[in-house]
Amino acid sequence: MRGGFSTLLYKEVLRFWKVAAQTVAAPVLTALLYLLIFSHVLEGHVKIHGIAYTAFLIPGLVIMSVLQNAFANSSSSLIQSKVTGNIVFVLLPPISYLEFFAAYVLAAVVRGCVVGGGVLLATLWFAPLGFAEPWWILIFAVLGGAILGSLGVIAGIWAEKFDQLAAFQNFLIMPLTFLSGVFYSVHSLPPFWQQLSHWNPVFYMIDGFRHGFFGVSDASPWLSLAVVAACFAILTVFTLNLLKSGYKLRA
C-alpha cells in the first residue's frame, strides 16, 4: 500500500473479494443459467456470421457480465459508503480527484474481469471458441468495464437511496446491455432497430469484444474502439468534474 490511489484500489478490490460468493460466484451462475436456457432453445436453429449459436452467445454473456459487474462494483460501494457514512474515511485523506476516480474505476474493471473470466471458464465447455484476435478481447473488456465503472461512480454519487440506484440500473444499464446484441446479431433486427442499435455505445463494446473471438463482427473493431474510447474520454472528463465540484459528496 503506497499512496492514496493504490490503497483505495486495494480496499475496493478487497471489499468485493471478501464477499466473493455474492459479487463473483452469483453473477457467474446467472450467466451460466442464461447460457443453458438460450442455447437449449436456439442451438441448431440459429447461426450468426456462420457461427453456432452457443459459441456466439458465450462472448456476449462474458462481456455483459463484465459490464454489469463493473457498474455494480463502483455504484454499490459508493452508495453503501454514503448511506453508512463511512465515505468520510476517503474524503478526509489527501486523495486527489483523479486518484479517487482511477481507484474506483480500476477496481470496477478488476471485478468485471474477474466475473467475466469466471463466466468464460464456466461456459468454455459448451462450445468450441476461437481466440482469433485476443488483444481485442482484452481492450474491450477493460474499456467497457471502465465505462460502466465510471457510470457506476456517477450513479453512486448521484443516488441518495438504494432504490434510486436500482432505478438507474434497471432503466438504463440493463436495457442498454440487453439491447445491444448479447443474445443476437443486430443484423438480424428490422432496419429501424438496427439503426437504433448503432446509437447504443454498449453495442460497440460487445461487438468489438466478440470480434476478438471470431475475427468477424457487425462493425469494424476499429470503429468500435473509436466509439468506446470516445465514450470513456467523455465520461472521464464528466466524472472528474463532478468529483471536483464536490457534488453530493462535499456539501
Partner: protein
C-alpha cells in the same frame, strides 16, 4: 509561528439555515481548544469546513497555514478529524481499517504506530475483530485511532465522549493530553462542560452560527461565573439579601467574589433570624458561563 487553525469570515448556509455566520477564529499551535454550543449551533459544520467535507460559501480556512481548498492535500495531511457520527466500514477488522487509513495518507509501514495507538486506546485485544462485532464505545475508539494514524499536528474531536463509559473517557483524555503535551494542537467539541472546563485552555462558544464568546477558560469563568454561598434555610431570605440571590429547588444562592464576604453574608442571614439547615460553597463553573452566554445577557464578544 503560524496559527494551527485560521478561520476568516466563514459563512455557510444550508437552504434557509445560516449554519455559520462570518465566523473568525484563530487557534495557536499547542492549544487545547474547546468549541462549545448548543445543538445546531454550527460546531460540526465548522469542523467539516475545516476538513473539506463542507464547502464554505465565503471566507477562508487554513490548517497549519495551508488553505483547505487551494492546497487541500497539504491541509488534510495536517489534520486528523474524529467525526461526530459513529461510522465504520463493516468489511474490515480494526487493524485493517487502520492500515487502510494509513495508506490513504501514503504511509506504507505504520504498524508500530498503529500498535501504540491501539495500546493507548485499550484496543489491542480487539485488533483482529471485525468492526461489526464491536460495541458502540469500541467503535468510537477506532474512530479516534483512525484520526491519528498519520500523526496529524492538529487533531479535532467532534464529541468523542458521547455515549462512552467512564473508563474510556479517562484513557482517552489521558492519551489526548499526552499528545497535546507532545505538541499536537487539540480542538474539542463536547456537551460535557466539566470536561471542557478541565481540559481546554481556551474556549469559543457558538450560537446560531456565530461566535458569542471567545476567551481563555479562566477569563470566561471569572467574567460570567462566581463563587456562591448556597443555603437551605427554614424561612424566607430577608429582602436586602434577596435582591442579589437566586433560588432553585429550595436552595438560595448568594454570589460573592472574595471568601471573606462569606462571614458577612452569614452574619446577615443569622441576624434576620433564619436557621440554616444546609450550606455549601459553589465554585464558578462553565455551565453557568454557558447558560449566561447563551441567554445573551452580557455580550461575550471580544
Amino acid at each position: 509561528m503560524s496559527p494551527a487553525i485560521r478561520i476568516e469570515q466563514v459563512s455557510k448556509r444550508f437552504g434557509s439555515v445560516q449554519a455559520l455566520d462570518r465566523v473568525g477564529l484563530e487557534i495557536n499551535q499547542g492549544e487545547f481548544f474547546g468549541l462549545l454550543g448548543p445543538n445546531g449551533a454550527g460546531k460540526t459544520t465548522l469542523i467539516s469546513a475545516l476538513a473539506g467535507l463542507v464547502r464554505a460559501d465565503s471566507g477562508r480556512l487554513r490548517v497549519m497555514d495551508k488553505d483547505v481548498q487551494a492546497d487541500y492535500r497539504a491541509a488534510r495531511r495536517q489534520l486528523g478529524v474524529v467525526p461526530q457520527e459513529l461510522v465504520f466500514d463493516p468489511f474490515f477488522s480494526v487493524r485493517e481499517s487502520l492500515q487502510i487509513q494509513s495508506g490513504y495518507f501514503g504511509i506504507v509501514d505504520n504498524d508500530a504506530w498503529i500498535d501504540e495507538i491501539l495500546e493507548n486506546l485499550g484496543l489491542t485485544s480487539k485488533a483482529g475483530a471485525n468492526m461489526r462485532m464491536l460495541s458502540g464505545g469500541m467503535k468510537r475508539r477506532v474512530l479516534v485511532a483512525q484520526a491519528l494514524v498519520h500523526r496529524p499536528p492538529v487533531i479535532v474531536l467532534d464529541e468523542p465522549t458521547a455515549g462512552v463509559d467512564v473508563e474510556l473517557r479517562q484513557t482517552l483524555w489521558a492519551f489526548i493530553r499526552r499528545l497535546n503535551e507532545a505538541g499536537h494542537t487539540i480542538v474539542l467539541t463536547t456537551h460535557y462542560l466539566e470536561e471542557a472546563e478541565m481540559l481546554c485552555n481556551r474556549i469559543a462558544m457558538l450560537k446560531a452560527g456565530r461566535i458569542v464568546a471567545l476567551d481563555t477558560t479562566s477569563n470566561l469563568l471569572r467574567r460570567f461565573s462566581s463563587h456562591s454561598l448556597r443555603l437551605r434555610i427554614d424561612r424566607s431570605l430577608p429582602d436586602d439579601l434577596r435582591a442579589a440571590a437566586t433560588e432553585s429547588g429550595g436552595w438560595w444562592s448568594l454570589p460573592f467574589d472574595a471568601f471573606d464576604e462569606v462571614e458577612t453574608l452569614l452574619a446577615r442571614v443569622r441576624a434576620a433570624g433564619c436557621g440554616i439547615t444546609e450550606l455549601e460553597i459553589g465554585k464558578p463553573d462553565l455551565e453557568e458561563v454557558f447558560v449566561r452566554v447563551m441567554q445573551g445577557s452580557p455580550s461575550g464578544q471580544d
